[in-house]
Symmetry: D2
Subunit: 363 residues, 4 copies
């Protein structure tokens, strides 16, 4: 039995990805597309400047965009809201009984909110009980996914951290244009150019978010992993796919073979549960000198895999490598859908399957 | 009185830059354009697929391309030869009495060959006497300039090294397409893409060359600076301008203000000598968040300046910044011309001003 | 029962597309990958610098590349050979009993060779009997598909020509980089640039090929359609998708509504036969001002549809519009596969289903 | 003696070009930079997001941006205002006694306003007396330059029209991103893409403006040249440089040699007057197959020349060729400066050289 879901901020760049990925999903039935007043009342087709190469799903194009309100007729909400709007609306929705899966940055670092990559820290979902009790939410909750640039690095470090202890990371990102949304980066800044800056907060997130995800939860809060991460964030003229060059120092000193083994043997929970959006394998390790490349590797695992290459010693720290993930699929909408699949498969969404939902309180 | 000079490999990408930059030079008179047999005998215009935005200088377009031989009627040679050809020809020319300023990698790491950036290590020219004696060259010599990617990093470190002691560097390059020559990188690899690999030797050069340039010469050889440099080299879809993100650990721990002061107060020899190609200032330090950018900063100082920005603390090492230089001007042809200007201004080329040159032995 | 097929020139850009499209086909079983001596004997994975965003099909990657010979163990061959090689090999293969579907230009304008777009001129297959008799081929044949740039224009004109009589066309192409193969266009020519030239023959093909395809066959030869077509061909920095701006003068003067109706009501043979690669609809007519665009429309109909937009009056001729098709799918490999599907569905390949093939004569 | 001039809309993309080109001009002294309230009171450096590769002229960076008012302390104004603002302000400034050289579209088609390319129709300045009398302006006036896309085509047709009579033109433009201003085209629309649409009015301007410029003035109005021009306008991922493919039908039927001769022998007034911004030659005719190209030819004549190539017969009309001009230099700011130079050199600006200007009426 499918659960009825909606997308918040459905007309924007990430909202379009949510719609495309949820258009025909085995667990979820996309029945609500919500956006700002400006779009409300129009058909999704009319309201949206569709920018994805994949065409707009026909049945969604016909749907009427709804205004933001807590009277939306669905159980779960995928949030592609901008940060300010997310701060205002997401807790309001959770209080009204909706399960909220958010791509926004608003609540990621809240101590009682799981910042989740299902392969990395599925156990952090144990924060939800504390979240609901502490906030007085009966059924609703907020689960977030990390910043798109944190994804490929965190996926690569996840199988290494428990075995070898990651101590220090120096990372440089080469981030795609779609990470800035639409209209986003002006073309005159992107053509024949690189911009060595993304946003004030980007390099801070690159330290804080992986440390939360790789840390340990006691059910009330997460103890940071204590890794020193220094990030240089850059924008490059690539449509999709964030690439990072990574230098790592470990507490135990693994050989390159140890690292390779940890990556290739990794079989985390989403893959064991065979979740619909879980890529197999989660890490694609390539042996060619010149991979990963955004154009050739971003769509690996239907945009959900992380591709790693160029593992070699680092004379300054211990080891160096390059990692890549699709920033609007794995790094945004697809990551959030996988979060919801994980909860579904673990029976944590049973209450949302009930027909008579309890939250329909208009505002 | 101008010295007669020639360009070796004049039809290639770097050879074209040499021709453009030397077309109207106050010290040097470009009278010889030499290239492979295939081009010899044609006019330079005909022989060359000119790829620079600046038009081919009219008087050079008319000149006849000459075959490689030690009978070229000039005194100094600027070499844009590929490595293999450079290995064969450059010492042969030096033995025949020519002064050779080479952009090739063939002799850069030879212990008796100066690897020169005039702002950084002008004193390394003291190797030349030893070079001539050791190799039995009466008048000829070889002076090299470094790999284009080493330039912006080395320029940025040069004023810091003597004051604060550079210990460790982690650097990621975002290198322009023109660094691969012509035809170089296929467009299908460059569009909407990044390639996390340049060449096997590139990351090695990024360690070895700065260490030689920042080291001390005793007139016979150079003691390496002993800096640990770990480089990640990447190709990005930019026509000209290599950008590097740099994390540095220092022995003494300078404040950010100390670093800024060292950069802005730096007044090295070429600027004191007011050399024609010496940019003033040599380092352009920008305060904006999003600079340097290749499209906006590569032409600073007519392509000879290094632009630095985003100085901030590094949690993993000590300080972080971004640096940029034009790879075919400062990083190749222009750098080599500045090397020649330095020797000229210091009176080290007097013997080449004599009319009756001694080397014209045909082969 | 599937027919065993092979790809000639399998390691090149178009050869890779053939392999990807035929990897899992309902009519054809891809069992032979043939290429030059240099590749022969290697696994396809090793022999190929795979440049498509879609990964190399795993089972094909394991196959051993074979040398060109008339002893290949299959019945049909899809030729991605360069023109010179095609001229040498294709008739040799046809003589040896293979059915050859060629993307090469070598035989397109031969009077007894169908130049085929299944939606446009399926009846031109009646040339094959004459071809076989005239050339003394018992079973083998050659069928060609047109130049990639001719496709979108010819698809757009096909439903208009019989109703309104196309008299004159002025067309400007904006052609993708992949049309030049790999390595093809150097990136320094493609970045921040347009090249107003493709090849000497390109603008000639743009006149000759549509006139052959839109002409009438009497079973022995084709009478040209007699349309005056003047083409300006340009290369633009786009990976895939050829776009053409078209101005047309008609003999009868249709209204814009007449033209729209002809396009939208068109239901040609491949769509009636429901061929696997036939896009439905064959022409996607868009009403937005700013479509078609390569990035958004090239994959319409899985790369087999032609997208048309901006229909409006032309003050100089009669009507103007823009058309786009994917140049390596519809314009090359996919077009050739559709040609084979058409023959298969019409029962013209029955003799190739027999197990005991008659052609295995080694050379 | 220099005339004091100002730039209206100085902080925008075209305004920056005006500032850069006028920073050190032999006839004009740039003393006023005016922009919207938001910028007024700031230094030009602070108020401007400078997007040109050439650095901001140091002395201009220090100047204070002024608010729009008719009390600006200068004699001539170069207008880079958007259309709406131009419609409001330009006639107000002319009424207050300023000479206005406008790049805006607001007054181009006014019957008493010269739409001027100095090489093409310098005699249209005879409209100014009628303009001043009719509008009751004592000293002020408005002179406009055409749309950037009209320039290369009109420059190419100008020497052909009087000799051979241009009857019909079919033109397709490949327009640069900078033509849309800043932020202009979103990078996600520009990467790996072409947009077959510029603006509703663009294709209309491409007909109307050349017909006005190539028409005859009787001192009161201009009789249109009566050429039928059908334009397809496209945006391509190029930073600067508009390229057009042109098919032309002539009344008299010139040979290709006749056309070439007309182009190469053309020596119009600005070149005869040796105006500072007049390129010599005005038309650069290239014989290579693959020229003009934006990256290689846009800077010809310091961005003021028009480059023409690929002259060949047109089977549909009479002749075909390709033309290119820099859209923000020749096609905008530089064109307007040349207009002012033409009037200066012809003694039409003498009244503005007087010290005691008469217009300083504050508003």
């Amino acid at each position: 039995m499918k659960i009825k879901v909606g997308v918040l901020g459905a007309t924007g760049a990430v909202g379009q990805r949510f719609s495309q990925l949820l258009a025909d999903h085995p667990y979820f039935d996309l029945v609500v597309l919500a956006a700002s007043e400006r779009s409300a009342g129009k058909s999704y087709q009319q309201a949206t400047n569709w920018i994805l190469p994949e065409p707009i799903p026909a049945h969604l194009g016909q749907m009427t965009v709804q205004e933001m309100s807590t009277g939306l007729d669905c159980e779960l909400l995928f949030s592609a809201l901008p940060t300010d709007s997310a701060r205002k609306w997401e807790s309001r929705y959770a209080a009204a009984g909706y399960g909220v899966f958010s791509n926004a940055g608003a609540h990621r670092m809240d101590s009682d909110v799981p910042l989740l990559i299902p392969e990395v820290n599925p156990e952090h979902l144990d924060l939800l009980t504390h979240q609901q009790v502490g906030r007085g939410w009966e059924r609703g909750f907020i689960v977030t996914n990390p910043n798109c640039t944190s994804i490929p690095m965190t996926m690569a470090l996840a199988p290494l951290q428990p075995r070898f202890g990651v101590e220090t990371v120096v990372v440089t990102s080469l981030q795609a244009l779609s990470g800035a949304g639409y209209p986003g980066v002006p073309s005159l800044d992107a053509i024949d150019n690189v911009i060595p800056f993304v946003a004030d907060s980007e390099e801070i997130k690159m330290n804080d978010e992986p440390n939360k995800m790789l840390g340990a939860s006691d059910g009330r809060q997460v103890t940071t992993a204590g890794i020193t991460i220094s990030a240089h964030c850059n924008r490059v003229p690539v449509s999709d796919g964030h690439l990072v060059t990574v230098s790592v120092r470990f507490k135990q000193k693994p050989s390159l073979g140890d690292i390779l083994e940890a990556w290739t043997m990794w079989n985390p929970l989403p893959q064991k549960l065979n979740l619909p959006f879980a890529p197999t394998p989660p890490l694609v390790v390539r042996s060619e000198d010149n991979r990963p490349q955004p154009r050739l590797d971003r769509d690996a695992g239907r945009g959900m895999a992380t591709t790693i290459g160029r593992l070699r010693p680092c004379t300054a720290l211990d080891a160096r490598f390059v990692a890549l993930a699709h920033n609007t699929i794995r790094g945004a909408a697809g990551g959030s859908v996988l979060n919801a699949e994980l909860m579904y498969a673990q029976g944590m969404l049973e209450t949302f399957k009930e027909k008579e939902a309890t939250h329909h309180v208009s505002t």
